[in-house]
Symmetry: C2
Subunit: 205 residues, 2 copies
DNA sequence: AACACCGTTATAACGATGTTATAGTTCGCA
DNA sequence: TGCGAACTATAACATCGTTATAACGGTGTT
C-alpha cells in the first residue's frame, strides 16, 4: 500500500525548475541582496508560500540553487571534448570552468562564498557531482600514461587543480586582475605549473 | 581658515576601533548573518546611529572591516621573518596567509565573498596594501637572484601565488578538504609548483 | 457519487532588519 | 557666554524571512 500519494505530484518538478530559473534571473539582474521571496513569488505569479512548500524556506531554495549551479558547471565541463592529450584536456577544462563562472557570477558566488557562511553541501557530496568527476577522469588519464606513483592520487591532483582554477576565478570576479587576459594568463600558467611540477617529481623518482 | 572643525574629533578613531572590534567579535561568534546594527550598538553601549555617523551605514562599516582585515593580514605576512632563501620565504608567507584566514574565517569571508557581491575596494587599492607588497618583495628577491626575464614580472608572479593560496584557503574554509593536513599539502605543492614552473621556464630560455 | 483527508495556496500578521526623520544634547570656538 | 554644527537617542518606516490561519483542490475510500 502506498503510504500517501502527494496531493498534486504533477507539475511539482516543473514548478521547482521555473522557480529556480526565475531566481537565477533575479540573481543575475539584482545580485544576491536583491533576491527576496516576495519578488521571486511575484515573478512566478504565486505567493511566498510556494517557496516553503517547494523548498522548505529560503535556505532550501539556496541549497537547490547551489545544486543546480553545480550541475550546470558539471555539464559545462562535460561538454568539453576529451582531448587525446590529457594536458590539453585539463587546460581546456580550466578554461571552461572560468567561462562558466564569468557567465554566471552571482550563481558562482552561491557555490563558493555562500556555502562558506553555512555549509550547504559537504565535501563528500561535492565530489560526487559530475564536474569534479570529469576533472578526476582527465587526471586519471594523465596518470595512466606514466608509472603510477602512490604519492599522487587522482584525488590529490584533482583537488590541487580545482583549487588553482577556483583561486584565479574568485580573484578575477573580485576585480583583482586588471584585465581578463591577465587572469587567463595566470590561470594557464598555474594549471600547467601544478601538472608539470607533479610530472617532474614523478620523473625524478 | 579651516573650513569647519568637527565637533568632537577626539575619540572618533577610538570609537571607530572599538566598534570594529565589537563587530569582529560578533562576526566570529554569530557569523555574517548575526551581525546586526542593533546588536552591535548594544555591544558598544550606544545606538545604531553611531554606525551612520562613524561609517555612513552598514556598507561603510563592512568597508572599514574589509580594510581592517586586509591590514591585519598584511601585519601577519610582515611578521614572517624574511628567510634568506626566497623559496622558503614564499612558502612561509603562504602558510601565514592560511593561518590568518583559518583564525578569522568570518573576516576572511568579508574580504573575499562579500566584496564579490558589491565591489568594496578595487584592484589598485588592494595592491597598495602591505600584504601584497610583502609578497611582491619576496618575489622580487627571488627574481633578483636569476637573470630577469621580461615575461615574468613580479606582479604576475605575485598574482599567481596570491591566487594559489587564496584558492586553497577558500576551498578549505568551504569544507572541500577532508583534513587540514590535506589542504596544507595541496598548498605547499601548488606554491612550489607555480614558482618552480616559472624558474624552469626561465632556465630553458 | 459523495465524503473525508491532506497538501497547497493566499492573506495577514509577527519579529527583526537597515534606514531615515526628528528632536535633544554636547562640544568647539568666537 | 552664546552660537552653530555634529553627534546622539528615540521613534517611525519600508522591507525582509517566517509563521499562523483559513479557503481551495485533488486523491483515495466508502
Amino acid at each position: 500500500m502506498p503510504v500517501a500519494a502527494p496531493a498534486q505530484p504533477a507539475g511539482r518538478d516543473a514548478q521547482r525548475e521555473e522557480m529556480l530559473d526565475q531566481a537565477a534571473l533575479i540573481l543575475a539582474r539584482d545580485g544576491m541582496a536583491g533576491l527576496s521571496l516576495r519578488k521571486l513569488a511575484e515573478a512566478c505569479g504565486t505567493s511566498t508560500m510556494a517557496v516553503y512548500s517547494l523548498f522548505g524556506g529560503k535556505d532550501g531554495l539556496l541549497d537547490a540553487l547551489y545544486l543546480a549551479t553545480m550541475e550546470g558547471l558539471g555539464h559545462a565541463l562535460q561538454a568539453v571534448p576529451p582531448h587525446p592529450d590529457p594536458m590539453v584536456w585539463l587546460a581546456e577544462l580550466g578554461l571552461a570552468y572560468r567561462a562558466y563562472s564569468l557567465a554566471h557570477p552571482a550563481l558562482y558566488g552561491i557555490i563558493t562564498g555562500a556555502s562558506l557562511a553555512h555549509g550547504r553541501v559537504d565535501a563528500v557530496n561535492l565530489k560526487v557531482l559530475s564536474g569534479y568527476q570529469t576533472l578526476k577522469r582527465a587526471v586519471e588519464r594523465l596518470l595512466a600514461e606514466r608509472d603510477h606513483w602512490r604519492r599522487y592520487t587522482p584525488d590529490l591532483v584533482a583537488d590541487a587543480l580545482w583549487a588553482v582554477v577556483h583561486g584565479v576565478v574568485s580573484l578575477e570576479l573580485n576585480g583583482h586582475f586588471a584585465t581578463g587576459d591577465a587572469a587567463e594568463a595566470v590561470l594557464r600558467h598555474n594549471s600547467a605549473a601544478v601538472v608539470g611540477h607533479m610530472l617532474a617529481e614523478m620523473e625524478r623518482a
